[in-house]
């Protein structure tokens, strides 16, 4: 029964994503603009193919990565407040970004090196570095609470380090603000391909390991008594979490709330096993960010709203409405 419901929901979310892709391809800097009109205009066609399509698809992929990471994090920590940025990846990425921007002005050597790696590469390295630091601090992946605490501490410390760096070089403030608010503006086909590859890998692994999270949800002792190889599985799941989050953050900056809201959205629509939940949460995250991206460039065109603001408005209001309707909670 739940399997069928989950299947239906997944199909629905995919269809919604396709519909949104079509809408997204028609929303440009001049507002709504029919797709067919682009056939005769070289500039419009180029804008459609090189900018709008990859950007809309990229928004879905980034949202899907964050939704997936959020569901994995909430399952792994057995905590409905967990989000993908929990293990220090966000603060690591923004510290790396700040350092990269400072170095950019300092030495020609650093600039040449940065041009090769790109700011995206630096942010990705920072995100992974943040997670590694958390793991180092927690000593192992086995104590959930310790890991959680270490993640919070690393987040605060790296965040403070980033603030120190920006204080020292105030002219990077405006560039940092762009990164911290998150943006899907500059996602191209390369970024899409990269995110799609990582997404497929992460979905496959998470799907295969969903039963570990099911076992964990019954409590650590029970999971162990079920004969699940917890240590190894946990390590792999944390790797999935770090990889998915790092990839999304590197390409689109710190988009708020998708990772936290997407699993709740999926859970509020269907109760199911973790394998399916992770997939559904990923699809929901994709739809959420894609919708937010479309609204972000439609509402004030040709100006844009920060996309993170809209994910919070869209996802948050939906969750509030569900909570209100049930009178209870979402859990």
């Amino acid at each position: 029964m739940t399997a069928r419901r989950a299947g239906l929901l997944a199909t629905g979310l995919l269809l919604l994503a396709l519909a949104l892709l079509a809408v997204g391809a028609s929303i440009g800097s001049t507002g709504f603009e029919g797709l067919l009109a682009a056939r005769h205009d070289a500039v419009a066609l180029q804008i459609l193919l090189d900018i709008r399509l990859p950007r809309t698809l990229g928004a879905w992929l980034a949202g899907a990565l964050l939704g997936l990471a959020g569901a994995v994090a909430q399952g792994l920590f057995r905590n409905p407040l967990a989000d993908p940025y929990l293990l220090g990846s966000a603060s690591g990425a923004s510290l790396a970004m700040a350092l990269a921007l400072v170095l950019l002005g300092v030495s020609p050597f650093a600039t040449a090196w940065l041009v090769r790696v790109g700011l995206t590469g630096a942010a990705f390295a920072g995100a992974i570095g943040g997670v590694l630091l958390t793991l180092l601090l927690a000593n192992s992946v086995q104590h959930t609470l310790r890991l959680l605490l270490a993640g919070v501490i690393v987040g605060v410390v790296l965040g403070a380090a980033k603030d120190l760096v920006t204080l020292g070089a105030p002219d990077i403030l405006s560039a940092m603000q762009g990164f911290n608010l998150g943006s899907t503006s500059f996602v191209g086909w390369t970024a899409c391909a990269l995110m799609a590859g990582v997404w497929l890998l992460c979905v496959a692994v998470a799907w295969a390991l969903g039963h570990v999270l099911d076992g964990l949800s019954l409590g650590e002792a029970t999971a162990q008594s079920l004969g699940l190889p917890l240590p190894r599985m946990r390590a792999i799941l944390i790797l999935v979490l770090a990889l998915a989050t790092g990839t999304a953050v590197a390409q689109t900056g710190m988009i708020a709330f998708v990772g936290l809201a997407a699993p709740h959205l999926a859970r509020s629509l269907v109760k199911t096993t973790h394998s399916r939940l992770i997939l559904l949460s990923s699809l929901a995250g994709g739809v959420l960010l894609m919708a937010a991206d479309i609204l972000a460039r439609w509402l004030l065109a040709p100006q844009e709203l920060p996309v993170g603001v809209l994910t919070a408005v869209l996802g948050g209001s939906y969750l509030l409405w569900r909570m209100h309707k049930r009178g209870g909670g979402l859990l």
């Binding site: 800097s29 804008i47 090189d50 900018i51 950007r55 950019l104 002219d171 762009g178 608010l181």
Partner: protein, 282 residues
Amino acid sequence: MKLCLWICLLVAVPAQALQLTDDRGVNVSFAQTPQRIVSLLPSLTESVCELGQCARLVAVDRYSNFPDSVRSLPQVGGGLDPNIEAIVALRPDVVLLATASRASARLEALGIKVVALEPKTYKDVQRVLAKLGQLLQVADAARIWRNIDAAVSAAAQSLPAKVKNTRVYFEVNSAPYAAGSTSFIGETMARLGVQNIVPPALGPFPKLNPEFVVRANPDLIMVGDRNALGLEQRPGWAAIRAVREKRICVFTTAQSDTLVRPGPRMAEAARTMAACLQDKAP
């Protein structure tokens, strides 16, 4: 008794040499010309020095870096997060800051005179210079403004006619925020006679959809070195004329400082832009 009080007041008023309304609309009065000044805004620091009163500054904020002499002054935090204690300890006669700073109320409560000024446009710069001239009793503030204004015009006149009407995109940061026609930077562009691709309706610093820039197809792009990285690789941007023909001016951090600060160095900013146009405009 009452009469005596009135007389005392009447006598006392002329002793208050200076009355000034700042940008908050607050009346500030000074018994004599302030001698110890703390400035918490780089453009105000530059304005004070332009009026030849650099020696009266006793401290500046951490972002003030021009002229060189202010670098050796004590720094008392930033405009939005100043170190109140350090400022009070310096016993300034007046603190100059932006209207947005929360520090004004606290400083006033501690008995320190505060003048809040907010230069945002060319007109504001002129007004701020006049106000500061009044505050510091500098007689030729108006002449100093006229010199700056004339230097901007001279920069515009130095440009060959073919440069006029170049369509320019000025990127403030890579979000991307653009400098709109109504911004200070936009005003400089207008004075130089070039076209801003951002229409006035979008306000001073709109966050643009990058598609808008591709469609507007500017002839020339101006950007600071912190935001220039990867600009040519942005999706679809290779088709923009400015990118295709390599007509991109990348400003150093020091140049960017003059370009974005609405202060007395606007003539230098205009010259920087003019040099870019001379070099890169089609």
